[in-house]
Subunit: 439 residues, 3 copies
Amino acid sequence: MDSIALPSVATASGMFDLASRLFPLHRSLTGEGVRRTLHMLADYIPLEIHDVPSGTRLFDWQVPDEWNVRDACIADERGRRVVDYQQSNLHVVAYSRPVRRRLSWSELRPHVCSLPEHPDWIPYRTAYFEDRWGFCLTHRQFQELDQWPDAEYDVLIDATREPGSLTYGECVLPGRREEQVLVSAHVCHPSLANDNLSAVVVATAWACWLAERPREYTYRFVFAPATLGALAWLHANRSALHRVRHGLVLALLGDAGPLTYKRTRRGNAAIDRAAQHVLRHAGTAWQSRSFTPWGYDERQFASPGFDLPVGCLMRTPPGEYPQYHTSADNLQLIKPDSLGESLDICRRITQVLEADRVCVSRCPYGEPHLAGRGLHAVHGQSPAGESLAQRQALLWTLNLADGQHTMLEIAERAELPFDDVRQAAERLGAHELLEMLPV
Amino acid sequence: MDSIALPSVATASGMFDLASRLFPLHRSLTGEGVRRTLHMLADYIPLEIHDVPSGTRLFDWQVPDEWNVRDACIADERGRRVVDYQQSNLHVVAYSRPVRRRLSWSELRPHVCSLPEHPDWIPYRTAYFEDRWGFCLTHRQFQELDQWPDAEYDVLIDATREPGSLTYGECVLPGRREEQVLVSAHVCHPSLANDNLSAVVVATAWACWLAERPREYTYRFVFAPATLGALAWLHANRSALHRVRHGLVLALLGDAGPLTYKRTRRGNAAIDRAAQHVLRHAGTAWQSRSFTPWGYDERQFASPGFDLPVGCLMRTPPGEYPQYHTSADNLQLIKPDSLGESLDICRRITQVLEADRVCVSRCPYGEPHLAGRGLHAVHGQSPAGESLAQRQALLWTLNLADGQHTMLEIAERAELPFDDVRQAAERLGAHELLEMLPV
Amino acid sequence: MDSIALPSVATASGMFDLASRLFPLHRSLTGEGVRRTLHMLADYIPLEIHDVPSGTRLFDWQVPDEWNVRDACIADERGRRVVDYQQSNLHVVAYSRPVRRRLSWSELRPHVCSLPEHPDWIPYRTAYFEDRWGFCLTHRQFQELDQWPDAEYDVLIDATREPGSLTYGECVLPGRREEQVLVSAHVCHPSLANDNLSAVVVATAWACWLAERPREYTYRFVFAPATLGALAWLHANRSALHRVRHGLVLALLGDAGPLTYKRTRRGNAAIDRAAQHVLRHAGTAWQSRSFTPWGYDERQFASPGFDLPVGCLMRTPPGEYPQYHTSADNLQLIKPDSLGESLDICRRITQVLEADRVCVSRCPYGEPHLAGRGLHAVHGQSPAGESLAQRQALLWTLNLADGQHTMLEIAERAELPFDDVRQAAERLGAHELLEMLPV
């Protein structure tokens, strides 16, 4: 009765494979596509799936009717589907109301859009909270149709917009402490790969990896439609948000661009220091940016009533690569290596957050006699294989172990990788020279 | 019985015309020239004129005797007035004691000064608090006289230094609040245009403009002789100085140089942020400088017992243009356009100070549903004519509306013009999404 | 019975002469060389000499047995001393245990070291807290011996490692206040000139100079072996360390490199500001560096249990000149001019620390009437010989005399030399315009 063992998702190719299987599903703000996506993730990680009924009040918002599409097309007089939902779910403007009508091109034209500068790409458009319908075409399709102004077409959007629910998933990985790390990725985009299957699979892989390890923090991975999904989670957890110590929104993690960290609203939260520290020492191209109140769900988490310390990890930011929000954001755009590197950075951030401690020297008066314990100071002879950085880390850790500095702060001041400081602290701890207290 | 309507002073040419009419008056630390100057200003703005009697103690100082000049000249043996006060009041060293004597050139020579590097310019010199007399000559005049060491001259300074008073004017424009904005300009220089008729007319025009508008703050425009006039005002108001929230000394506002803002002693007062913000977004050349305890009356306002937040707005700073303190600082040096631009900056500073408010969101949990109210977020479709900056301003204002930020602080963090934030706040206020509290 | 008057040590040549006489002594962590060194210093300054018995606990350490060497050599079969302690005390690895044996070169080889890259220099090596012996050779000596692997040698280290004591000296110069300035220099190196006789003689000269002057602070000059000597002093004074207001470790002050100031652990202590201010205005090349927990005894003073504000003044930092820790760190490396300049900087730092006061204006409301007191403002006429900087210092001092600024802080903000501010404060004090309170 056991299910067939799934291949590991926590590898570059495992993440890419999962993204490939999620790609065809027609996700939107609500609907079956999101639900099926979450059920596929639940094969890998323990995922609670929450359905929030249409009409539910979420702060200033209300959950809309659920939207599902069975079929859609524009068919010419000979019945040929010249624009066909079966070819790409991007052809239908998201949340289009149902339509089944014969229209002339001049009547249909105001309902279509295309991208003249990229004639083979279909744009991605939404009509959330609007009462309209529309089609997205390649510009070549548009030009073809635009030659015959008087031609007539049978237009079909066989969709429902009816009371149902908004669906999001949450994977909670309890740790030794009640303090939480929040990770979120939006799951509301149809067949777009980088935006945001890339981050969905990285988050899933990260959760898999964490699930197998002892944890200090309790982790909450939220897979939710953008904005309303995040608000639904915030609403459901509004009395316990004080437990969120660190947070990260994941988005656009599969393209070949350099990693980008967008800082929290506070600008110098521990997650900001941890993420930037990891990137600085990762030996890869990266950039960091200031907070702005637009982008992904960090804007909800950072609204003034919550002000949670939530950063955002991306590669190329939204709108800064040409394929953004078009059919060219497909599986060719995302690279297994990029997914792998993104996951690696996430894991390292976890390692910093998990291991970080306040250091308190048990031998604070003068330097301890390191050589007498087989530990060596900078100018002494070193045991074989001990690097200068490791010896410096030992001295910095002792010097700043005044109960006012965490390991991460010591690493930052010493301009050393966190791991060197952590290892130094452990060596000192093993010699009873140091105590480590929770942050 | 009504007086003939005066032309508006609040225009570039209106300011220049007023400066032209003020130019011939012989102003000094005290005397009729200051009094007549203030009476001319009183045609435009409500001006209380204060006379502080000679001998009055003003902190560490005492008001000196009043000085007035009827005539002065150096006449040669044939009675020709070779140096003539009627030609320029700069010829007499300010506060010279009366003299009427026949002197040889070698006796007279120690009492004259000139500028060899600018042979056609008369220097401006003072002998405040000294018991001496002197003449300022062009260097050509000096060279002419210096050819004949034995020639004799009749020297006349028909002046009085007698008990009288020091005079300053104050225009108070009450606002809805008791908190005050102090504006001051020195009025003690004789026929010099940039220093400081330029600032006198800009201050007058600014007060005119403000007088016609509803005001939050109470404005106090002080037209006073430098140092002692400022001390007289400080002395008279010493028990109410805690009401001064912002202050600006105006000086040298007519030359063609770029605008210069000199920061307050504190360096980051609200007036510093407001003035620099306005200049940064004005699209004109400008510079800012740190506070120094020399310059104009900001040095009195910033003395340690007062420490009022008073900046200084100028164009080319004192001593940094060659005509400074010479007869070449005349009406040709000042440009109507420069006066107009200076006034414009002052008005904009007012607009920032008047409109600035602490913003408090009424919808602080998550973003409000902007589209549902016809307001749009950055990535949504915008109403026609709405700029990206306006949409960003909306989101920044909501995000920072935590009761800890003023509009100006929001504009600074968002790197947007204040007006964009103000308009965003007003739109949000109109939708009951935001409250605005006094700073 | 009076001793012959010694030449002054407080000159460039006096310091160099003293270094020359100290040079031959064989100093180490303990032993007669240190004791004789301290006795020579005691000819110039009042020096208490402290002997701390072997076995004494010093925080995490224990004082080791005392080490003294009578003779040492490597002699060939013909009895020639091919490596001879009488030629250089560097030939013996410090703290070598006694040895007297015949060994073949292949047996002896693991006990010797040399510097291939500098074939004429003898390295300086230690075996503190180890149970071994060794010789340091020039690489030419090494190569000579290395030609004959089977040759045999008589190896002699006629040394004692027996209970005795660790010796350090302290010169206390009481001042009017109990607050202390700590100066320390390490005295544990054998015949090395820059490291650290240079700093020993500068410290001695500085103490001589201070001894002849009235002092605000109590000065404590500590001449001690590195690490253990500093810990011995800290241990002896552990209940009174709160009196240490400022501290400076002196090291490597004789080479021709630019002066280097290494900041305290706090990074912005008064000694940091004073030392960097003096260097900035000294007209000489200099650099400053951040604290690191390695280097000299600043690492002990800055351990987290003490955290004393102790900086370090050097010229070329340790390890950054090729002669470091070799026989080429000899009297040719140190320059009388460098010693003289180093002393000059020390004296100036004293002058800043001694003279620094909190300034409080007695005339804080507006500027005082300076001209009425023969003091002049920036734009007034100046008494002959008064510089612009002096006049600016007068105004800055008055302006910042709010009880919140010290003279040094005023000088820093005014970007003026401390002395200009001090003189301004004294002139203002003489006119009862200013009070100066202890920092």
